[in-house]
């Protein structure tokens, strides 16, 4: 084997290998990103459809079925400043998730409404917040009374495996079912931990996962308080015409 020791030649060789390799990698990523993004959108739709109770969470549903079930839901955009629906952005193409990576609060959030027999039966509300290591994304489904929790799921997070990722535990999530966020007078009462509080307004924390659980608690306070969905839900509860 011929060995070439000139430092300049070595540098030139290293630079050209790096350049060619990065070209290949960049090209692959450039062409494949849209396909990956489409898959990401489909997975998100699957989460929403499962949260709305249209399919069991682990059902093996074809992609086409997921989309058709998703279209059974009414997707509306809520303007969190005006606390009501808006047509300012297109509900089918709007994506709040790029904003979730920044600290900026989005003005618009999508909500997914399921009607049964002409009455509002379920509302699926996306939420997110800063967890231990990265952003926690979840959705909460409320019943037609807009205060009783039907279900909650955290579908995207980077919490510590074995500790914080217990927010995915079915048993823990099952505690949320039937709990109430608001009192009859519309005050946000729900809390995690909060021993001594009326059981219908609380779920247990997770031992060892204090940071993650506090993050989830902060998400609930944020998103269902006055700066989040709170006033919108109050207006909807009050019978404001959709």
């Amino acid at each position: 084997m011929r060995t070439t020791q000139s430092p300049l030649r070595t540098l030139r060789f290293a630079a050209s290998v790096a350049l060619v390799c990065s070209l290949f990698v960049t090209t692959a990523v450039y062409w494949l990103r849209p396909i990956q993004a489409a898959y990401g959108a489909l997975e998100y739709n699957r989460v929403i459809v499962a949260a709305a109770g249209l399919i069991p969470p682990d059902a093996a549903l074809s992609d086409r079925d997921v989309v058709s079930r998703f279209l059974e839901l009414e997707t509306r955009i809520v303007d969190l400043e005006l606390d009501w629906y808006t047509d300012a952005v297109d509900p089918l193409t709007y994506d709040y998730r790029p904003l979730a990576a920044t600290r900026e609060r989005p003005r618009y959030m999508p909500v997914y409404l399921l009607e049964q027999l002409g009455r509002l039966d379920r509302v699926v509300l996306p939420i997110y917040g800063r967890g231990m290591w990265s952003t926690i994304h979840g959705v909460i489904t409320l019943a037609g009374d807009l205060t009783t929790v039907v279900g909650v799921v955290f579908h995207e997070h980077g919490e510590t495996p074995g500790i914080g990722d217990r927010i995915e535990d079915a048993a823990w999530l099952a505690q949320w079912r039937g709990k109430r966020l608001y009192t009859d007078s519309g005050e946000l009462m729900f809390a995690i931990g909060a021993a001594g509080r009326d059981a219908s307004f609380r779920v247990d924390g997770i031992t060892g996962a204090t940071v993650t659980v506090s993050a989830v608690a902060a998400m609930i306070d944020d998103w269902f308080g006055p700066d989040g969905y709170g006033p919108y839900l109050a207006a909807l509860r009050g019978g404001r015409d959709r």
Binding site: M1, R2, T3, T4, Q5, R9, T10, F13, A14, V17, A18, C21, S22, F24, V25, A28, V29, L32, I35, Q36, Y39, E43
Partner: protein, 227 residues
């Protein structure tokens, strides 16, 4: 034997040797990390095998093409760069076209970069051999890795879930059949047992073959780095 036949024979050996006599897992005990981690069911093992074969062939071929111009002082980092590029491309492809499997394989696709088998073949074979031979060597080692991986996964999925590649093979007790699946088979420790048994079997066969063909030493003493 004429030259053409002789070279055909060498090609065959280049591909077949790493499948049995110099198998990267059973004989050289390389690449165990992924072999233990992703063999609870067959599908991820098949995809992982395809990914490793692809990376091995690409890395071997490119290093072989460049072998005369790679400066000796930076050859390892050049090799790793080439391997890493191939792995990233495979990973992106899986994320786009097989996202479920990709999430099962998680970091283990990325860890092909550090799989000893790839670097070992590139450094010890492709740096010193022609392009065609390197391609065959990559293929052979990839296949040698694959059959062990898929065998382990088949045993684990069959005993642990009563299915193969997701298709039910034996009727489960929970569904009115007779087969009581062994959950341990789906957990990591069982991978140790199963790989251990396969290595034992493969070496017994190798010793017997060596003995029958009159060779004095069986090929099990080549190297024993654990990856």
């Amino acid at each position: 034997m004429n030259a053409r036949l002789a070279s055909l024979h060498t090609y065959k050996r280049t591909v077949l040797d790493p499948i049995v006599d110099a198998n990267p897992i059973t004989v050289q005990v390389l690449g165990l990390c992924s072999a233990l981690a992703i063999t609870s069911t067959v599908l991820p093992a098949v995809i992982m095998s395809a990914a490793v074969i692809f990376v091995l062939v690409i890395a071997n071929v490119t290093v072989s093409v460049l072998r005369h111009s790679i400066p000796h002082s930076i050859r390892l980092i050049i090799e790793v760069t080439l391997i890493a590029s191939a792995v990233i491309i495979v990973d992106e492809f899986l994320k786009a076209f097989a996202p479920e499997v990709s999430s099962v394989l998680s970091v283990f696709v990325g860890l092909i970069i550090t799989n000893c088998i790839v670097l070992a073949r590139v450094e010890s074979f492709a740096m010193h051999n022609g392009v065609w031979d390197s391609l065959l060597d990559g293929l052979g080692n990839g296949l040698g890795y694959s059959w062990v991986l898929i065998s382990v996964a088949s045993i684990r999925e069959l005993l642990g879930a009563g299915s193969w590649l997701g298709y039910a093979v034996v009727p489960l007790a929970t569904e009115g059949g007779w087969f009581e699946p062994n959950d341990l088979m789906l957990l990591t420790p069982s991978a140790f047992f199963v790989i251990g048994l396969i290595i034992w079997l493969a070496r017994t066969v190798a010793v017997k073959r060596a003995h029958d063909s009159g060779r004095s030493s069986a090929p099990q003493r080549q190297s024993s780095k654990v990856a």
